[in-house]
């Protein structure tokens, strides 16, 4: 399997006044294309921080993040924004939908950064909403949708521009068990059928079972556990 990400000696710390905190130090690992990886670990262990570095919305203190030959940590702000729009789909714990836009308009947002025509965008939006099973809700606003449905809209938005990787930060953290399972099944389907590489942060062991492998991040170190996917 070819690797999508290569992280080398990756360190991240913060300085608060005179104090400096190290979140993790000299992490080295690869994420292969087509992987579905769950990152687990106690609260504050740096899971979100790692995801931010993979997604190019934060920069490491040292070390490198390489994605298919691109040194993500070295890109200028403008290039980084463009790289994100073409390579990454984000899925957040609180969905982060625009409350004043309809489901379809929310899903269309990443396509506004492409050269696609209005008609092409409309088709892509319809397909994405179809994949997450919300074709009949395209005119609804986030407030009119349940939490699970909102997260599905967010997933549609994350996949609509056909990125290589989906980065999910506690995607089921705010959902009940049933909605959570539906979301996780959708993610699994995106991984298996559409070949999306997925990195998912979660602290829920039953969510992690949907992934191909689990990584435990604790005190700045990784411990890998490979496991059978849940049925």
């Amino acid at each position: 399997m070819t690797s999508l990400y290569t992280l080398t000696d990756l360190s991240k710390g913060y300085t608060r006044g005179k104090e400096s905190i190290t979140i993790f130090e000299e992490l080295t690992m690869t994420i292969p294309e087509g992987d579905f990886m769950a990152i687990m670990g106690p609260s504050g262990s740096g899971k979100t921080t790692l995801l931010n570095l993979l997604g190019g919305i934060d920069r490491p203190t040292s070390g490198s993040v390489e994605c298919q030959g691109v040194r993500v940590d070295k890109l200028s702000e403008g290039k980084l924004a463009k790289w994100r729009s073409q390579n990454v789909g984000f899925i957040f714990q609180f969905y982060n939908l625009m409350p004043t836009l309809t489901a379809a308009q929310n899903v269309e947002l990443p396509l506004l950064l492409t050269g696609l025509s209005g008609k092409q965008r409309k088709e892509r939006v319809a397909t994405a909403l179809d994949i997450v099973g919300l074709a009949d809700r395209k005119g609804h606003r986030p407030r009119q949708l349940s939490g699970g449905q909102q997260q599905r809209v967010a997933i549609a938005r994350a996949i609509v521009a056909d990125p290589k990787v989906l980065l999910c930060d506690e995607p089921t953290g705010d959902l009940d068990r049933k909605s959570a399972d539906e979301i996780l099944e959708t993610l699994q389907l995106l991984n298996k059928d559409l070949g999306k590489t997925i990195v998912m942060v979660t602290h829920d062991p039953s969510a992690a079972r949907y992934a191909r492998r689990e990584l435990h991040l604790d005190k700045g170190r990784f411990v890998e556990q490979v496991q059978e996917p849940a049925q």
Binding site: T48, N52, G55, I57, D58, E77, G78, A81, K82, R84, S85, Q86, F90, F92, Q93, F94, N96, M98, P99, T100, L101, L109, P110, L112, L113, R157, D169
Partner: protein, 393 residues
């Protein structure tokens, strides 16, 4: 890029109802500023239009040099005589020069609207005065008899002041007068005056044979230069000679400028207040949209698009405020009749005029408020930290 900016702008504008209170306050404060500015401009425009509509090109007005207004001027009867012999002066059928030495004193009248005292000009005139006002006509009654305590009253005075009805006796200062006629000059400033015989006023006000202004009909508008040259070359004359048109334009200019001198700074001070309000509104707009902006940026939208979206929101609020202010001013003030202190501290009746130019000035002011109020918040929205995406709300 246009897609991005369009989307961000649409998201911002649609979210305005979530900040309805603050946005409305901004619109109202900008509307007030625009309204006040337009009110003052309408006043000065109206005033200017009234006084500029007055006056003839072929009448010369002469005051003591440097005196600016009739009230400050003082001339001797010798100077009147010298002007009667000057070149460029028209003569009547009998060959008498059309020159009128006039006195100008201020009396108190009672305003109909407020029942308070206000200044009224009482002009002492001779028989030639009528020949120097185009369109002069008696509306009711007759002209005063020379040498008597009879008055004729301008039509504007009747409208605005009490106790000037035909046939009434009125006390002005220490003297009693009988009102024998109402005249009109077709809406010019003279309609705001009362006229009596100059000899009687010279006597009652201890002016000897002195006058305050001289009006003379010219043989042609161009003859003014001849008259001016004559005045220059005659050491016994020390006058400012100008056409009546120029004279009134100067008078109007003074007062109109005065109105604007009060109006602009007041509007600007209010504008600074409105700017602070707009700034605050836009700051809070960015605050409440932080996570949305960060999310858009994470998706790949540019900081520039975020900034433009914020700026457009600010400009839209300001433009709505400006339009509301201009519209309200137009509805309330345009064409409304008012009277105010003219030059020489007398009442001049005029109409407010909300002109296209002043509406434009008001809108430009509103947009400037919107621009500067939105500038820092717009820059701030370009630099929203991306990690704000993880905020729970």
């Amino acid at each position: 890029m246009f897609n991005q900016i369009g989307a961000v702008t649409m998201i911002n504008l649609r979210s305005i109802p979530q900040r309805a209170g603050l946005s409305l306050a901004t619109i109202i404060s900008i509307a007030l500023v625009t309204g006040v500015l337009l009110g003052f401009l309408a006043m000065s425009n109206g005033f200017r239009a009234t006084l500029q509509g007055t006056g003839s090109e072929s009448v010369a007005v002469m005051l003591r040099a440097g005196s600016q207004a009739e009230l400050n001027s003082g001339l001797s009867s010798d100077q009147v005589r010298l002007i009667e012999e000057a070149p460029g002066i028209a003569r009547d059928a009998e060959g008498a020069p059309l020159v009128s030495g006039e006195l100008f004193v201020i009396v108190d009248g009672i305003k109909r609207s407020s029942q308070t005292e206000a200044n009224l000009p009482l002009r002492g005139v001779g028989t030639q005065a009528l020949a120097l006002r185009d369109g002069f006509q008696m509306v009711e009654g007759r002209m005063f008899e020379p040498g008597t305590n009879e008055l004729v009253v301008g039509a504007g005075v009747i409208r605005e002041f009490s106790n000037f009805d035909l046939g009434e006796t009125i006390r002005l200062g220490p003297n009693e007068w009988v009102i024998v006629g109402i005249f009109s000059t077709g809406g010019s400033v003279f309609d705001s005056e009362i006229w009596a015989d100059i000899a009687v006023i010279q006597n009652l006000y201890n002016r000897g044979t002195g006058v305050q202004s001289i009006r003379a009909r010219l043989t042609s508008p161009e003859a003014i230069t001849e008259l001016q040259a004559y005045e220059e070359g005659e050491p016994r004359l020390n006058l400012d000679v100008q056409s009546e048109t120029d004279f009134f334009a100067g008078q109007a200019g003074g007062t109109a400028v005065l109105i604007e001198i009060i109006g602009w700074p007041l509007a600007i001070v209010m504008a600074i207040g409105a700017l602070a309000g707009a700034w605050n509104t836009m700051y809070s707009s960015v605050d409440t949209r932080m996570r949305e902006i960060a999310t858009l940026r994470a998706i790949g939208f540019s900081g520039f698009a975020a900034a433009v979206g914020t700026m457009v929101e600010s400009l839209v609020l300001a433009a709505i405020g400006g339009l509301v202010g201009a519209g309200a001013t137009y509805l309330v003030f345009n064409g409304v009749s008012a009277s105010t202190l003219g030059s020489g501290f007398t009442q001049v009746v005029f109409s407010f005029a909300v002109t296209g130019g002043s509406v434009l000035a008001g809108m430009i002011m509103a947009v400037i408020i919107g621009f500067f109020g939105g500038l820092v918040p717009a820059i701030r929205s370009a630099y929203v930290p991306l990690l704000t995406v993880h905020r729970s709300e």
